[in-house]
């Protein structure tokens, strides 16, 4: 094939090529919403990636300024709409910090239980869609079976399945209904077996490993530089978790481990999230065990006014990373400014770094592992 006049080097193209621009999304099932990526590709290889967002921008931060503190809780449901409880907690926590309220212990424990159930349900949705993106159909049916149970538990508690609106500044609006604790315990006791089922389908699956190991590697330095948090950061070997670093609600009274993996690839992030589900399950069981009796709501003024020029930043560990609220008061029942530190928005910045040089087919795996919710990215 080669002769003396051939000047090609190994790896050179056999024929003239030019880079092609390709639009990926905003309408594409693998973008998990309305993410649009402007890609520059060289054959199957991605050489450039530029995310374009904002297709789901609803001006939530502007809406926050219009409504009193209590009426803003439903807005937070609609940001990360698959993990409303953690959004609620971050928001009410910021208001409580700003106003100086102390939450009764029973309310703290109920919040902890709800947030951990929410973490499980969010990770289950992530696993289902991530696996479907890569081509494994079965986990979807398995995970949605358990997610349904969790959503039923939420429905029984607050009447809603996704947009929970289940917390108020100062405490919890309702007590757990009769029989809820038993139902939740029954679920938690059988859930570890279910995780084994999902892992049995994927963890040692040769195709799954080939599609995820070494794909979308995120260097710990790069991850930190981009401000990435949550399972993305812990998959890269940095064990920062808000629940351990600055315990809120009842997290200082429960035992749990923070899983950390060191390769920073899609497979490691998968393992981190699987272990997180086990730990969340463990926390829920402890919560049901230790749930104290007592009041649900702190003594709070009828019209809650934030101090003028007072400001607070409060963050919790959401399923996707650190979700924080920065609220500025103005001496009125409405906040002057309410800014959301949305983990998906910040984590998505690292996407170009992870996909440049990868194959087109790996792009969907990387988008899946980033675990973004566009409602939160665009707010």
């Amino acid at each position: 094939m080669t002769d003396a006049t051939d000047s090609r080097q190994p790896g050179d193209h056999l024929f003239d090529v030019e880079e092609m621009e390709l639009n990926f999304g905003p309408q594409h099932p693998a973008t998990h919403g309305v993410l649009r990526l402007k890609l520059k590709i060289d054959g199957e290889r991605i050489v450039g990636c530029y995310p374009i967002i904002g297709y789901l921008h609803r001006g939530t931060e502007k809406l926050f300024e219009l409504h009193p503190f209590f009426q803003n809780v439903p807005h937070t449901d609609r940001m990360d709409y698959v993990a409303a409880a953690t959004n609620n907690l971050a928001y009410v926590g910021a208001v409580e910090k700003l106003v100086g309220l102390t939450v009764p212990p029973r309310a703290d424990w109920i919040r902890t239980i709800l947030c951990e159930l929410q973490r499980i349900s969010s990770h289950l949705l992530w696993l289902a869609t991530h696996a479907i993106d890569i081509g494994a159909m079965t986990p979807f049916f398995y995970t949605f079976r358990e997610r349904e149970v969790i959503l039923d538990l939420f429905e029984e508690y607050c009447g809603a399945r996704l947009t929970l609106n289940c917390m108020r500044p100062g405490g919890q609006p309702y007590d757990l209904p009769v029989g809820w604790v038993e139902k939740c315990r029954a679920f938690c006791e059988e859930f570890p077996e279910r995780i084994e089922e999902y892992e049995g389908l994927l963890t040692e699956n040769r195709i799954w490993k080939r599609r995820t190991i070494g794909v979308g590697v995120l260097d710990p330095e790069v991850a930190l530089d981009y401000g990435v948090t949550g399972p993305m950061l812990r998959g890269s070997g940095i064990g920062y978790d808000v629940r351990k670093a600055r315990p809120y609600a009842a997290y200082d009274q429960v035992e749990f481990d923070v899983p950390v993996r060191h390769n920073g690839d899609t497979y490691d992030r998968y393992l981190v999230r699987m272990e997180e589900m086990r730990q969340a399950n463990r926390i829920v069981l402890q919560g049901l065990e230790k749930l104290p009796e007592g009041p649900l709501m702190a003594k709070r003024p009828r019209v809650m006014k934030a101090p003028k020029e007072g400001e607070s930043y409060y963050s919790v560990e959401g399923p996707k990373g650190e979700i924080g609220f920065y609220i500025v008061g103005q001496g009125k029942p409405e906040p002057y400014r309410c800014h959301v530190r949305a983990p998906s928005f910040i984590n998505l910045q690292a996407l170009p770094d992870m996909v440049e040089g990868a194959l087109m087919a790996d792009l969907v795996a990387v988008i899946g592992t980033t675990d973004i919710v566009l409602g939160e990215v665009d707010r």
Binding site: I53, G54, H57, G59, E61, K62, L63, L66, K97, L98, V99, G100, L101, T102, V103, P104, G171, L224, D225, Y226, G227, V228, T229, I238, Y240, A245, R246, P295, M297, A298, K299, R300, P301, P307, E309, G310, E311, S312, Y313, S315, E322, G324, Y326, V328, Y336, R337, H339, R341, F345, I346, L348, Q349, D378, R379
Partner: protein, 277 residues
Amino acid sequence: MSDRDPERPDAKGDAPSEDAAKSPGGDDGAEAGGEAPQEDAAQAEAAAKAKAEAVAQAKAAAAEKARLAREAKAREEAAKPAWERDPATPEWEDADDPLARALKEELGEALLSARTYAGDLTLGVERGAVRELARSLKERHGFRLILDVCGVDYPDRDPRFEVVYHVYDIQTDRRVRFKVEVGEDEEVPSVVSVWRGADWPEREVWDMFGVRFAEHPDMTRILMWEGFEGHPLRKDFPVEGIDTGSAIYPEYYEDEAGPVAGTGTGWKPQPPPTTDE
């Protein structure tokens, strides 16, 4: 509450003490008058003195009683769990903090203030020194994670905007907030060269508030589309939105077509179709 009352019995403490003083005093006077009307002045004086003493004693006793009651109430309040007490609203305090002192030494006058609110250290910094502060926080003090950059609009103030940064040290679990004030036509030095994670949040601040960041690698809109006019999170931007139809994009829309502000759905209501042909 209880520390100021022994000297200054309040109205509640006074009322029973006067009652207590009057009744024994009145009885004394009646007896003295009945026995000997021509008693000498010294005796009358002694009686008055005794009366005054009795009043004072009764007053003191009542004050003591009131003080005890108040102390008991305060104890009761303190014994109450925190969630049954009134909210303890935090206040701004000057920070006496090693980090703030170290930064003051490094930056000098450029570090305008160091205060805490609800336990969070908040630094005020001059606009020109933002990157210097950022670099120092990251490289000397270990704040390697940038959490957030956001803007706040104060139309009545001069300069008008505030840009607020939150940074985090994952080694010591410490969070610091720093702020810079910026006017309408001014630029803030971008900190993307320090933390790459500031890239999108800074673009969001430009998009939402119209604050530009100098030396930002890609200072374009992020949530609104390129070509949109206005900055939605400014306080003077109408909540119902602005016309994005033919009024401002005549090249895209025919006359009176396209989304119109304040019409609820965003589209101008069409007249109902006429039934007669």
